[in-house]
Symmetry: C2
Subunit: 77 residues, 2 copies
């Protein structure tokens, strides 16, 4: 199965959600991307439909926004 | 592992999220509860920290609100 991508920005809500997701679906099934650090991937996240972080892009191309840490606009700064 | 519980209220956002979650973690790992129909479980969801649906209560007791379908207050009606 293709991996999911977990986009986050290092916020406490992000870290908590990351732990839950990895616990639920396994670290080997998720690529974790810190868009505050890997800023070149912000556009990729936006194009996928990510509006806030933390968010999980599933292998089906669907975005699950998990709780609310920060709007992507705030990450862009 | 203890199961997660996916609380929803039958809304389109809920159904979409349910498909993704089951695809990600497997139907046997998730109990699906429609709190619009199983109204006796609304209090249980609220006590667990569910503020809106769809939401996933993980085996760790953490709540992941997945996108936004409806506030639990709206489900209570």
């Amino acid at each position: 199965m293709e991996k999911s991508i977990f986009y986050h920005a290092g916020c406490p809500v992000c870290i908590s959600a990351e732990h839950e997701i990895i616990s639920l679906i396994g670290a080997e099934q998720v690529e974790v991307v810190h868009i505050g650090e890997e800023r070149t991937r912000i556009a990729e996240a936006e194009n996928a439909g990510v509006q806030s972080v933390p968010a999980l892009l599933t292998p089906n191309g669907q975005v699950l926004h998990l709780n609310f840490g920060a709007a992507i606009e705030a990450v862009k700064g």
